[in-house]
Symmetry: C2
Subunit: 598 residues, 2 copies
């Protein structure tokens, strides 16, 4: 945009420019009236720690006004600017914005309808004075010159690794060294926050390696990058689990993370007086007492395995275990296998058993959402080669997804789901003909809302559905187990299923279960459940929260945090959790606005 | 460029377009006269395997005409197109071009002066039908569907690793698993050529780890990327050696290379009848006989260490060793140390010893080129954050460097060297005042030509020069060792230097030394020396070759190749060596034009 060529400003950009000037003015003058005039009747403001030091969505003018009233004097937003050009589609004008606050720099996004704001999104991206060093500001690595008693990179790395947890305490202890813990650990490393990751397994990546042999990521590579170190261009679309394990192990080394393998967390108690945790861990069998200021549970969004209890399980003489400890189909050729459940793990395990020559029966207890992996990848247009060619980086895709308030996600997804059902109609018909009970969400909004609401209830099909459709895997829809005998599973309807193996693919409890197990049920109760939006749908009771409960943001237990989600969520939200911890580490005031009431 | 807006074509682009149309026509019609008219009196054509299946530069019209006469019917170049816009600077118009041949796709570059070609550069970039899979053509990773007896990624990876060298023979055996061997191994992996890398060390990366403690890369990060997996944005400018070791080790795993550690090559003989090598190796103490079709020596461009022989070395009671086995300064506090030599290793080792509290004397035997690392990095404008911001990718920078015929490199470098001497005049004055014998190349062309001509004779200063300038490291310029006593080094001028440690930083022989050691002196003699241009300057005897001798291209020993160079050269030329091996593997005819006579 230049004075000489005003004609070059597109109409959408001009519209957003004018709106932004008035918005800036309204904020500067604290003019609530003018703010109201700029927002539509239906309006949303989603904030990732820029205004609220919270992850929160404000719905409607009253909520937005109240938030601004409480935060503006402290936040002091300025310097609003359009980044690139605004665009218009189906009556919605949208644009990316940059802005600053008193303590940091942020990125924002606006959607206007009829000239007024429909959705507004603000995200703090970096803290002034604590910018990450990269590109032209990267570290020298070598310290040129002659320095007696020089400590080399190796000296420093070794001494950091040796002292951390013993003579030095981590500011932040991360329990769980899967993709979530490692990505957050990397963020903290780059932000200069002393952190330690502990994990029960032998080596980083084992959480993947220890799963059943045929497992691959169900999400495509464009969706799965970790922070800082993207997968290279030749990386396969669906990463095999051991390859993922190798990547995570390399990541841990290359990002120079302090990582204790073979370490289990025994207990954690928070001391109000000193505002620190005492965490008892066992490192390779040796007890160590840690005193971190902050504790992050990155133990997997799936929480503690749900192992059901049926009469006769103690008498059953075959092999039985939860899906999380299922080693794979090897050795089960010709065996009669019953898989209880019909979500992702149940399907993968059933198919893997079939591939190994087993006789497999799947017990479907309730309707299940099924989406073919290829169809799902095709709908993830923001994460694709085409998106990259169009200049949509992974980071911009993450921000775009984050800019949509959760309330609107179902209505964005309903037409997509309808289209997908039409496209794959023959596939779904075959499944239903085999008796499979299909489900597309209570409001037919498909996979994404179901994932956000309950994190379960679906299968991303990579091949098992065809086995079910043509009967190679036997299906018992609506099955309810009555009891087990020495050598069979008996259903309520009287069916006797002779069995050598029973796999309980019966899911996981809430992440809060880990808080109960590691800390106390009191703390777990105080914090309340993790995940879910409060959508008042199956397994996601209200009230409406508008955000994923307790994820990546302050909880009602001081200095306790939950980190997790799929690879994309872990990647994106680790930035905001990292910045929240960095601000606290540096003594920057972080008053939290909009904590859900207890 | 579109028909509607001819005014938009810049003058340089128009000039190149017109030249290119005539050039294309001349090639199509095999019109030697017209080709002649298109080239200037001084002209060069450098070809990287696109026309010649060789790496060769043709100087002058006669040489270019002869090459085209012999190659055009087979190569069938077509589809010449300008990529982007041509540019003009100081009377030179230049542009990037794309073209095809009968068997592949290439990239070319042209420099025009007065409308005629001054330099032309052609590089084969991929073979038709054997394009590397990346981006939208990447592999699926998971094989969706239900497949009895499915072989997972891990199954295949393990079986490949276990069979290679035993039940399966590598098409290509790479001796040496440093940056060169690993980068080439990665190229071959992506090209689908069965390869095995062997290395004497315990772990990939040990070639770096085993060096003296303070070692860091002397080249900045932008210059040092490996193929496929670039360093991330936060990577330090000068990578510390152990961090480099970790990167290479991760690289080996993540690129899925077949790599035998703890393996030494005992002998190699080529069987003319079967056109294969028999290579005897010892893997972790066990003899294994390998039968590769091609043998690549990637043992480091430095070759076999030169250990000098002085009278009395056998009587000397202190510690003495070649720089390649020097462990670092630890333990030498207060010791009297003599470092023989004044190139990179000599300076680094002397400074490291001083940092550890030793009394150090450097024996400078001949004038040495010194360039401050920062000044050198500043002059590498093609490899920098600024270059990246200007759209010059690492690959484009590599191609740009390659587009300059070696004959012209000194004249490109002389003004840069002169400027650098002016900029750092105070630094050089201090060094000379301390007696240091400076050298900027016989023609004052500085570091780059010296590196290409002899691969030695210089120090990229990271701190030692100040120690010499202010006398903290004692310097004996022009020193010639006469003999050693039990406890001293005695110079020809009678100076007695009491010594507890003598480090011979006396350089390395040619890479050909490895061929002599591993294969035979006959083969080494047939191949002739590696490296050097034949510039008829010190340590680079003529005749002029116009290319680095025997590097990355066919040698006079069938199926024997040399790979090496700094990180940038290894990265870039591994592509062309990889394509040469791939073409042979696939049975594509590869007649070599322009082999130097024996």
């Amino acid at each position: 945009m230049s004075v000489e060529s005003p004609a070059r400003i597109s109409a959408p950009t001009l519209l957003v420019s004018e709106w932004l000037a008035r918005f800036d003015d309204a904020l500067q003058t604290r003019d609530a009236q003018q703010v109201s005039a700029l927002f539509g009747e239906e309006c949303y403001w989603r904030d990732l720690i820029a205004f609220t030091w919270n992850i929160a969505t404000f719905e409607g003018l009253d909520a937005i006004g109240a938030m601004l009233h409480k935060t503006l004097d402290r936040v002091q937003p300025t310097g609003w600017q359009i980044e690139g050009e605004a665009t218009e589609s189906k009556g919605v004008v949208q644009a990316w914005l940059a802005f600053e606050t008193a303590i940091g720099r942020g990125k924002a996004h606006v959607r206007l309808t009829d000239g007024r704001c429909w959705t507004f999104f603000t995200a703090l991206r970096e803290l002034k004075g604590f910018e990450e060093k990269r590109g032209s500001t990267r570290e020298a690595g070598a310290e040129h010159g002659a320095i007696r008693g020089r400590r080399t990179w190796t000296d420093q790395r070794q001494s950091d690794a040796e002292s951390m947890g013993y003579t030095e305490q981590p500011y932040c202890l991360i329990v769980g060294g899967g993709q979530g813990g490692l990505g957050l650990g990397a963020r903290l490393k780059r932000l200069g926050v002393p952190a330690l990751i502990i994990d029960r397994n032998e080596r980083p990546g084992d959480a993947w390696r220890n799963r059943y042999k045929s497992l691959c990521l169900h999400d495509p590579v464009w969706y799965d990058h970790l922070p800082y170190l993207p997968f290279p261009e030749h990386w396969p679309i669906y990463t095999p689990k051991d390859k993922m394990g190798d990547w995570l192990e390399a990541y841990c080394t290359l990002m120079e993370l302090n990582y204790w393998a073979k370490t289990v967390c025994r207990s954690a108690t928070f001391d109000e007086a000193s505002q620190t945790w005492t965490v008892q861990v066992e490192r390779d069998g040796q007890p160590v007492s840690l005193r971190p200021t902050h504790l992050v549970l990155a133990t997997g969004m799936s929480g503690v395995p749900n192992l059901p209890s049926y009469p006769g399980m103690d008498r059953f003489k075959g092999v039985q275990h939860h899906s999380s400890t299922h080693p794979g189909g090897e050795g089960f050729a010709g065996k009669r296998c019953v898989v209880v459940g019909s979500n992702n793990s149940a399907h993968d395990i059933a198919a893997d058993l079939w591939e190994h020559g087993a006789e497999v029966t799947m017990l479907q207890r309730s309707p299940t959402l099924v989406v073919r992996a290829e169809s799902q990848a095709r709908n993830r247009t923001l994460y694709s080669e085409d998106a990259l060619k169009a200049g949509i980086s992974t980071d911009l895709a993450d921000l775009t997804v984050a800019s949509i308030p959760y309330r609107l996600v179902p209505q964005f997804q309903i037409p997509i789901t309808a289209q997908l059902r039409r496209d794959d109609a023959a596939f779904y018909d075959r499944l239903e003909a085999a008796g499979f009970m299909l489900n597309f969400g209570e409001d037919e909004s498909g996979l994404t809302p179901m994932y956000l609401r309950r994190g379960s209830g679906y299968y991303i099909d990579v091949g098992a559905s065809e086995l079910i459709a043509d009967g190679r895997i036997a299906l018992k829809p609506g099955a309810v187990i009555d009891h087990l005998t020495e050598d069979a599973v008996v259903l309520k309807d009287g069916t006797v299923l002779p069995a050598d193996l029973v796999v309980y693919a019966t899911g996981y409890g809430s992440m809060t279960g880990w808080a109960a197990a590691l800390i106390s049920t009191e703390v777990a109760d105080t914090v309340g459940p993790c995940w879910g939006l409060g959508s008042d749908t199956l397994k996601d009771p209200g009230p409406w929260e508008g955000e994923l409960r307790n994820m990546w943001k302050p909880t009602r237990q001081t200095h306790l945090w939950f980190h997790g989600g799929n690879l994309a969520q872990s990647r994106h939200y680790s930035l905001y959790l990292g910045l929240q911890l960095k601000a606290r580490y540096e003594g920057i005031a972080t008053p939290v606005y909009g904590m859900p009431s207890a």
